[in-house]
Symmetry: C2
Subunit: 216 residues, 2 copies
């Protein structure tokens, strides 16, 4: 932020919100972070008549927002792959935490510490299920999807993926992944499903009630 | 349990506890599970004058218990490696959950759902720290330690280990692990430390205040 202030007149979202009509007129560029409470809607953009550039400082860009920017002829930039590793780590953290019930276990441990030792007797309920050797399905084998597959290899998981196009034989062999051109052939086989594709009109609603029905 | 009952007269810990002196006399074998509320202490074994066998149905055996059995000439068996994969998975789940603060994030999400949206503003506090590319130290490169290293490779972690003896060059190369004969040389380098050695008189207190002091 300090670095930005040396080159720009920085207006925070809070300052902007004090008088959107007046302050919006002087804004040339927006830095857009993922945790922002505001989305780039048509309404929001109306307050920014002189906007020229939007810098997304994350990867998972909503294509409907990009479409609005394109309509207005506003340039945009996005982060390159710097977050893919962190993202794949977190995906794996969530796979392990949900399969092995780490949050529930943590609460259980807290309850035991509080001397409610009866709860401990139920601890086998929280074993969850095995991750090693299970089958992982990945929708979207781009940068993040591939890094998830790399990690899955260390867990001896059986990795299946669906993507617009097949990765090279070399890429597949390195992580031991198997391609499914048809998502519906893959879904009945997977124990865990990771969605790692961008949100576009084509991928919207890629998983619905019908797809859930096809899973184990 | 049903299978056991076809071949044995099964007495639960609860039944045994009703009259330890009387019931203890008829017990020939003990099946000992990790979550048991009882430990194999000298006092406990006094109630079992005719005990011939103990079956540990877990791996992390306390050598002081084994020593007591040896004194009494009681045979014991333990589970082979069937739990090493699950254990390594859980180790990794805990590394990711603690580094990326999954439990705190879960609570935060609960708070946000409860419309305490102010908490969400602090969400950057919960980013935690990067696992990918960080340095993992493993004390005890047996079955579990090695499987942890296998998983770490997928996260491009820098793997260091301390063990009674060096693993073969081939084993090391496969997971990219580097041996330290002296634990104190390894400790200052690691971001995360995993202890995967059995509890023996030699390994007891392997990490104390002094060792913590040497870490980052």
């Amino acid at each position: 932020m300090d670095m930005l202030r040396t080159a720009f007149n920085v207006i925070t979202l809070e300052q902007f919100s004090e008088d959107r009509v007046r302050i919006g007129k002087v804004i040339d560029a927006v830095i857009y972070c993922m945790a922002s409470e505001e989305r780039l809607t048509r309404d929001f953009l109306q307050f920014l008549p002189n906007l020229q550039t939007v810098c997304f400082i994350f990867r998972g860009i909503d294509q409907t927002e990009v479409e609005l920017l394109r309509e207005r002829g506003i340039k945009w930039t996005a982060l390159p792959d710097v977050q893919s590793d962190s993202c794949a780590d977190l995906v794996f953290g969530l796979i392990l935490a949900s399969s092995r019930r780490i949050v529930e276990d943590y609460r259980l441990a807290g309850a035991v510490r509080a001397r409610d030792a009866n709860l401990y007797k139920g601890c086998y309920l929280f074993l969850g299920r095995e991750v090693s050797g299970s089958t992982l399905g990945i929708i979207g084998m781009g940068s993040i999807g591939y890094k998830v597959a790399e990690r899955a290899k260390g867990f001896h998981m059986n990795v299946l993926y669906h993507n617009r196009r097949k990765r090279s034989d070399k890429d597949e062999a390195e992580v031991g992944a198997k391609y499914f051109s048809n998502l519906r052939d893959m879904l009945p086989l997977v124990d865990t499903l990771v969605i790692a594709c961008p949100l576009t009109p084509e991928t919207k609603s890629v998983i619905g009630a019908e797809e859930f029905e096809m899973m184990k």
